[in-house]
Symmetry: C2
């Protein structure tokens, strides 16, 4: 809850005046830097600072929608991958897809198994790998929980007009390709 109206520093020189509409918390942050360290190039913050804040804010909002279903974000993410895969998924593959440690998958599976939403089974082909699959209850739950998740994000994304949405989407794709390239390097 960053209180935007309550400026972090006496904002006298709006360096971020390129906003025709409303200002956001990142505008305030950049103005504050501009007064204290004017030589600093904060254009990076204009894009990625907003992305970080947006992700955090939306996560907080949508986590709340998960609560009535008795699962957390970690479990939801695992159930989602399983739901859109037609066959069981290896634990390590889950970890890669979700960019978390293998240990995190183990812990999430303990919770999901305890609540009967997913099951583990050692692969018969390769007894090192554990294959994970949805139970019927898990399938029901993810199908029930998904609409609210997608709905919230759709409502927020709707502040962008039709053309803007496509342009933004493609800009974000380019950024993501670059970030994932560096991460896998």
């Amino acid at each position: 809850m960053p209180d935007t109206s309550d400026s972090p520093v006496t904002s006298d020189s709006p360096v971020t005046s390129d906003s025709p509409g409303t200002r956001d918390s990142v505008d305030d942050t950049r103005d504050a830097w501009a007064t204290v360290r004017p030589e600093l190039d904060t254009t990076a913050i204009a894009v990625l600072g907003r992305i970080h804040r947006l992700s955090r804010a939306v996560t907080l909002l949508s986590d709340a929608l998960l609560e009535p279903f008795g699962i957390g974000r970690g479990e939801f993410d695992v159930l989602s991958v399983l739901r859109r895969s037609d066959s069981p998924v290896a634990a390590t593959r889950l970890a890669h897809l979700l960019t978390v440690s293998n240990a995190a998958i183990t812990k999430r599976m303990l919770r999901l198994e305890a609540s009967g939403l997913a099951a583990r089974q050692r692969s018969s082909h390769d007894k090192r790998v554990v294959l994970v699959d949805l139970t019927p209850a898990g399938r029901d739950l993810i199908d029930a929980a998904l609409p609210a998740q997608l709905g919230l994000e759709a409502e927020i994304a709707d502040v962008l007009g039709w053309g803007d949405r496509d342009a933004t989407e493609s800009a974000l794709r380019r950024l993501l390709v670059e970030a994932e390239r560096r991460l896998n390097a």
Copy 2:
């Protein structure tokens, strides 16, 4: 490390064919949903799914750059707010600006005080509030750590052309205003 080349599901029907260049992990995710639950509207993911993944990827990359300075993201964020504020900041205000709990600020301050980077002091006007300020060492450290952080983000943001950057920035601003509005509602 989502391995994009290793598709989550046999991707036969590219519903996300609007990419002139490369595909990213979110394209794969949307295609997978389209095969399993074709009636589902996943346009929300196109924008916000990418934002979540981007934030996570960039955070992982830039956290690594913080390591040599002996601080974590939490401490870095506190030092940043302090550096761009000319005067001491109340603990609760830090919590609001960073969207974390008050308890998180207390814990971060314990670490920052232990390493001599910031100091706490009860306000004389209102003895309930704790005012936080940088030490000279803290100021030196944040000034030293900042360039790498901004540099990484600037490099990534540079995959966008000049015009695209401005358009993206303004789209993100609109999204952020909406998300923060809902969060503070």
